[in-house]
């Protein structure tokens, strides 16, 4: 299974180094791919090319996703989401929407905004805005990252962390207080039960001026 990463790694290396001259090495042709960090290469090859398009393509509007989950979480997951590896893992759903920022904590290393998406004046979801991004939602939403393809739980966790680190710089907020402003977002929300509070790991945010 692990060998399935190597062609990807080679492809990604070639993509990642367009300005480099490829020097043929007859004595040990596999050396470059073998010594490269397989997770970094996988992430470089798939984050923009596959993961972000997958999230954009499968993201449901907040209200539609809420309704689907309220009806039947498992059915909603099978139709719109992807389940993380292992017993007890959450369903991860791509989601998009807009709402009013009720409050925000932008001094934490794990910035958060509380958003009201249904217009009742009360926050109904939390948007995680980095730079420290918690959890494994970005990894788990993608059906093409499969636990069995990785050496162990550490390597699989490194993938989640590497994806989180890739998203961090994409989350740019304006200076100053954003409370009261309107915000549009796309992201991923992990759900274990229909009663869960929503914490959406943002992949893109725009604050209205």
């Amino acid at each position: 299974m692990r060998s399935s990463l190597i062609p990807l790694a080679v492809a990604a290396l070639l993509l990642a180094l367009p300005g480099c001259k490829v020097v043929k090495n007859d004595t040990n042709p596999g050396a470059t791919a073998a010594t490269a960090d397989p997770i970094a290469t996988l992430v470089n090859a798939t984050f923009e090319a596959k993961l972000l398009p997958h999230i954009a393509k499968t993201a449901l509007p907040v209200a539609d996703l809420r309704a689907a989950i309220a009806t039947d979480l498992t059915a909603a997951g099978a139709a719109h989401g992807n389940r993380g590896a292992g017993e007890g893992a959450a369903w991860a759903f791509a989601v998009k929407g807009e709402g009013k920022v009720i409050s925000a904590n932008l001094t934490s290393r794990a910035r958060q905004a509380e958003i009201d998406t249904d217009g009742d004046g009360v926050a109904d979801l939390t948007l995680a805005l980095g730079p420290v991004i918690k959890g494994t939602a970005l990894r788990d939403v993608a059906p093409f990252y499969v636990f069995g393809d990785f050496r162990d739980q550490i390597e699989f966790a490194q993938l989640a962390r590497a994806l989180n680190d890739k998203v961090s710089p994409l989350l740019v907020l304006p200076e100053g207080d954003i409370a009261g402003k309107s915000m549009t977002f796309t992201g991923v929300v992990p759900i274990k039960s229909a009663k869960d509070a929503w914490v959406v790991t943002a992949t893109s945010v725009t604050v209205a001026r």
Partner: protein, 313 residues
């Protein structure tokens, strides 16, 4: 005619299932090999496996390897000699255990691993492990939050031969090291031991009186550390553990230790026995060898629902 035939068929079915049960009860034994039940986590695991095995009609042979790979190897010899049908194992070392599990496999006895992984695949039939890395990240996120994202802290690491000691430490640091104002001033093993953690904590505190938090690789070490802090009049120090033991639950409810991470040990052991039973009956478990189970953060909000390594819904 039709009715008669149906009756006859169900009579045969009853006879068959009856004879299977009788066969299982008289001859089939499942060996359960774990570390010492002195740690309630391992006791819960052994109890969970034994209860499920008996429920499914097996005899149970419970053995303890005390985290000694040589002793584990001898226990495998005994289990093989006793003609057990399957082995449920929480192993005594990720590398050292591969040979023992292979030995059983060569003797035609399938092994089902819980809690700890081994470094080879295709040797055991199942490896069901808690997602220790995910659990450690949960614990570290809570720890950082309780610390206000800043301050001096110490880490107590588990027994080096246990793969989970390293996995948890890596998971902790994966989160904590993203906060530049969190400063680790001491890091040392206490070998999963409560008494050792007490001693280590005493000397850490003497050398670093500014410590504001302690993150421990398991609950017994968290208990030891908290006892030392309490004795030194430092109940203000934030302590977090890992496992979800009843001891730490009680401490959380009393305002002592602040958080732990539950590994569903009891359920995990039961799953392993169910898979062993299915494998013995059908030749396949129907699932992948390596299976992860997610851990759950336990803090003051949900500690009351925790009992013997299981969380009430």
């Amino acid at each position: 005619m039709n009715l008669k035939r149906r009756l006859l068929l169900s009579a045969v079915a009853v006879a068959l299932s009856g004879s299977f049960t009788a066969f299982a009860a008289s001859a089939d034994t499942i060996a359960i090999i774990t570390p010492s039940p002195d740690n309630p986590f391992f006791k819960a695991e052994a109890d969970g496996a034994a209860a499920k095995a008996k429920e499914l009609g097996y005899e149970v042979m419970t053995l303890v390897h005390d985290d000694d790979a040589n002793k584990q190897s001898e226990l495998f010899d005994s289990a093989i000699a006793a003609g057990v049908k399957a082995i449920i194992l929480d192993n005594a070392g990720a590398d050292a255990s591969v040979a023992a599990v292979q030995k059983a496999k060569d003797a035609g006895i399938p092994s089902f691993l819980i809690d700890r992984e081994i470094t080879a695949t295709g040797v055991a039939v199942s490896q069901i492990v808690s997602n220790n890395y995910q659990g450690a990240q949960l614990g570290a996120e809570e720890f950082v939050k309780l610390m206000g994202e800043k301050g001096e802290f110490a880490e107590l690491i588990g027994k080096e031969s246990d793969t989970n000691a390293g996995i948890r430490s890596k998971g902790y640091h994966d989160v904590i090291d993203q906060y530049p104002d969190m400063k680790m001033v001491a890091s040392q093993t206490a070998n999963w031991s409560q008494t050792e953690a007490y001693t280590v904590m005493e000397s850490m505190l003497q050398a670093n009186p500014g410590i504001m938090g302690v993150i421990a690789g398991n609950d017994t070490m968290a208990m030891g550390a908290y006892a030392a802090l309490e004795a030194a009049g430092r109940k203000d120090v934030i302590v977090a553990g890992f496992d979800g033991s009843n001891d730490v639950r009680d401490s959380i409810l009393a305002g002592g230790i602040k958080a732990t991470v539950l590994q569903p040990a009891y359920q995990q052991a039961q799953m392993a026995v169910e898979q062993a039973d299915k494998f013995l009956k059908t030749g396949s478990t129907g699932v992948e060898e390596k299976q992860l189970m997610d851990c759950v953060l336990i803090n003051a909000d949900n500690a009351a629902k925790l009992e013997t390594f299981a969380l009430a819904q």
